[in-house]
């Protein structure tokens, strides 16, 4: 189908790409100039040790992706088939919380259960005969990565499942499709379209894992490239090495992610106007109990470490913490920064999603252009650019001309927004593309475009997925710190920042209390986002 070439959606996408390009490009420029003066580090980085690190990085990331995404298919399916499952809404909200937890908080939560001194140490030790050695090593890394990514993958897959029109569910139950048939014929095709993107996302998150890998990995045999990059920038200050390692990380990730894309065909399903209200999905009792079991197991796995975190948080002197001016200030700063980055992330993602769709439509059956690829998978690769690289690069770039303190909050917002963008894209795209498929011709015919289309046609359909995207983006921004390592600024003293600094000065109980606060804050923000995303009652 050929549509207008002067589509404002494409312009918006180009603008978003340009903004992302400037953020990342500026950082590389800054470090590149610095590296130019002392380039030998770039070659010195490549030795046999690096080869081992790269291999381990990819291996753990692949395993983590598989273990996160495969069960997520079952969990998402179970949740989608039981819209009335008790507490479903709460489960979905809880699933946004892990992303907001700083890695060390999650690691400690997980160890409370499966560590040497964990709740299950006795039972696990009995099973393995002897004392339980804990989950240090690859197993610990995998457990932690699944804890972070299973809920993420589940929510994103559920988003894809929700684009299946109600008619199809009715048809399925009318035709008497059992669980297996409806999975094969309805659910799997819907999820399969979204799967490569989601798997790619999880993979990238695991590639860049840092604290989890070191803390739970048991020793430097478990090291990721991210650690080497961090070391190059923070300890050795060797920009040449940092840049070449970052480029290596991007290249390796690109190879794997592109292979993933090839595995799953990016098929756009036929989408019809959903004229019926979402109808009841008939599931047989056996299937019902199976699904309930799946949901409960996932909930226990994700909820367990959270409960442990809450339990140790409750031991803290919460009343005193809540009364402290610094805690209140940090909470306020966190909320402001996270909301701003989430808003920016949603705007960037929506622009990219709309542009991709417009480009895909206008090319018809031809090859996707480079621009389209960039609005699609390409932009996602920002995830494997370590925030410390972006922060340091911009610091180097602007230190001569601007007061770096003034820049710090904007850096935090911009970097967090860009890092959250790939998640937001995954949340928005299925609903957007399904709606666009239905509306494209009629909009073209009636001349509904640009702002009018966004306001009248796309916005009402996208409210809910945008709310999901917003919640995720906010959770991610709440937890992140990496970018300001060099900047240092009073304007960005966020909750996780306060948490780590209390932890760094023996105040472990305070830190546990702040972790609880952070989790509750994330939950509250998610609930608000959900409420905003609800369709207006008529």
């Amino acid at each position: 189908m050929q549509l207008s070439r002067r589509d404002p959606r494409i312009a918006a996408g180009i603008l978003a790409l340009a903004a992302i390009g400037i953020l990342i490009g500026g950082a590389f420029l800054g470090l590149g100039v610095e590296a130019w003066r002392n380039p030998e580090g770039a070659y010195a980085a490549f030795d046999s040790y690096l080869f081992r690190v790269a291999r381990f990085t990819l291996w753990q990331a692949l395993l983590s992706t598989l273990l996160s995404v495969a069960p997520a298919i079952l969990v998402a399916r179970a949740l989608s088939r039981h819209p009335e499952f008790p507490g479903r809404q709460l489960i979905l909200r809880l699933f946004a919380v892990p992303l907001a937890l700083p890695a060390i908080v999650a690691a400690l939560g997980i160890l409370s259960l499966y560590g040497r001194a964990g709740y299950f140490a006795g039972a696990l030790g009995g099973l393995s005969g002897g004392s339980w050695p804990g989950i240090y090593g690859l197993s610990g890394i995998l457990v932690a990565h699944v804890f972070f990514n299973l809920p993420l993958a589940t929510r994103l897959l559920l988003e894809a499942l929700q684009t299946v029109p109600g008619d199809q569910w009715r048809l399925a139950s009318q035709l008497g499709m059992g669980a297996r048939a409806s999975f094969r014929l309805i659910e799997w095709p819907a999820m399969r379209a979204a799967l490569p993107g989601i798997a790619g996302l999880v993979f990238m998150l695991c590639v860049t894992s840092f604290t989890i890998v070191l803390t739970l990995g048991g020793g430097p045999a478990a090291t990721t490239l991210e650690v080497a990059i961090y070391q190059a920038l923070r300890f050795d200050f060797d920009p040449a090495r940092a840049v070449s390692l970052t480029l290596l990380q991007i290249a390796l990730t690109a190879v794997v992610v592109l292979a993933l894309m090839r595995l799953g065909a990016n098929t756009a399903g036929e989408a019809n106007l959903s004229v019926t209200r979402r109808s009841f999905i008939s599931a047989r009792p056996v299937e019902k109990s199976f699904n309930a079991a799946i949901i409960l197991i996932a909930l226990a796995f994700v909820g367990g470490p959270m409960i442990a975190t809450v339990a140790s948080g409750l031991e803290a002197d919460l009343a005193r913490l809540a009364g402290e001016a610094s805690v209140r200030r940090a909470t306020f700063t966190s909320i402001v920064l996270a909301s701003l980055s989430a808003t920016l992330a949603c705007a960037l993602s929506l622009s990219l999603v709309m542009a991709r769709r417009a480009l895909a439509v206008s090319r018809g059956a031809g090859e996707a252009s480079l621009l389209e690829r960039f609005t699609d998978t390409g932009a996602g690769f920002v995830l494997v650019v370590p925030p410390v690289v972006v922060g340091a690069g911009w610091f180097v770039l602007v230190r001569q001309s601007i007061d770096v303190f003034a820049l710090a909050p904007f850096m935090v917002i911009a970097v967090n927004a860009v890092m959250a963008m790939p998640f937001a894209v995954r949340a928005i795209r299925p609903a957007h593309d399904a709606a666009a498929e239905r509306h494209e011709r009629i909009c073209a015919q009636l001349g509904i475009g640009g702002w009018n289309r966004l306001r009248l046609i796309d916005w009402p359909v996208l409210r809910r997925p945008l709310a999901t995207a917003f919640a995720f983006a906010m959770a991610l921004s709440l937890g992140d710190l990496g970018v300001i390592a060099l900047f240092g600024s009073d304007a960005v003293q966020t909750l996780p920042y306060l948490l780590l600094s209390r932890m760094g000065s023996y105040r472990t109980a305070d830190a546990a209390g702040l972790a609880l606060l952070l989790g509750l804050l994330c939950l509250a923000l998610t609930m608000i986002a959900d409420r905003l995303g609800k369709e207006r009652p008529r």
Binding site: Q2, L3, L273, R441, A444
Partner: protein
């Protein structure tokens, strides 16, 4: 608002998509209803899409009322189109769906609103202005689409099997409605259908599309007469199966 039809001409149009290639060279008379029939996949919908501007020809021109519209936006062409499905926005009520035919920003004057009400009354949906599409039957939804055509008031109407999913009685009602609207407005109508009776009932002219090109073109009565084109007779036969 008295539309007068304009002639539609596809002037040596060549279009290709993936493995398929179509060629059209045909004129549709102004103010007439032309039925477009042919086997599935022959290119009937492509023909409409070319006229509507959803597809761009590789070669040739498309003229409406003698004016070259090749390359212009779908919304700027003097054309309305009704699809088999997805004519309405599920989240907007009936009045808004119709109102979009007047203003894509949905900024409607009092006069526009009264036109919308008139059009709804005309298609037999008076009093349903505030319903959502999901609260309507299939036939009612197509009536909304037709109301929007009235409000839009363009000289050419393209119908892509709009009544295919309706029952016989309902389809007859819709055809009646279509004919009376066409009589009032004198639009040029291109009507893709699989039902020979539909074509007989409403179309004065007829074209037969086969393997990406128009293989026959003439009066509907001639098509159904004894001297009708061989391919068409085979098609009818196979349709009746």
């Amino acid at each position: 608002m008295t539309t007068t039809g304009e002639a539609v001409r596809l002037d040596r149009v060549v279009f290709s998509y993936a493995d398929t290639m179509v060629r059209f060279d045909v004129t549709f008379d102004e103010g007439k209803v032309t039925a477009i029939m042919g086997p599935s996949g022959a290119g009937k919908s492509t023909l409409l899409n070319l006229v509507a501007g959803f597809e761009q020809p590789r070669e040739g021109r498309i003229l409406v009322g003698g004016k070259d519209v090749t390359g212009s936006d779908p919304s700027s062409r003097p054309v309305s189109m009704v699809f088999q499905e997805n004519n309405l926005f599920g989240h907007l009520d009936v009045a808004k769906n119709v109102g979009l035919g007047r203003s894509p920003a949905l900024r409607l004057t009092a006069a526009d609103r009264s036109d919308v009400d008139d059009a709804l009354a005309r298609v037999g949906l008076g009093g349903m202005a505030n319903r959502l599409p999901r609260e309507l039957s299939g036939g009612e939804r197509q009536r909304v689409a037709l109301a929007r055509v009235l409000v839009r008031d363009r000289p050419v109407l393209l119908l892509d099997e709009p009544f295919a999913s309706l029952g016989p009685a309902l389809r007859d009602d819709m055809l009646e409605l279509l004919m009376s609207v066409q009589a009032e407005r004198g639009m040029t109508v291109l009507f893709v259908t699989h039902q020979p009776e539909d074509a007989r009932k409403v179309a004065e002219n007829m074209v037969f599309v086969e393997a990406g090109t128009i293989s026959a073109n003439g009066k509907t009565t001639d098509f159904f007469g004894d001297s009708g084109p061989e391919a068409f007779r085979r098609y009818i036969g196979s349709e009746r199966g």
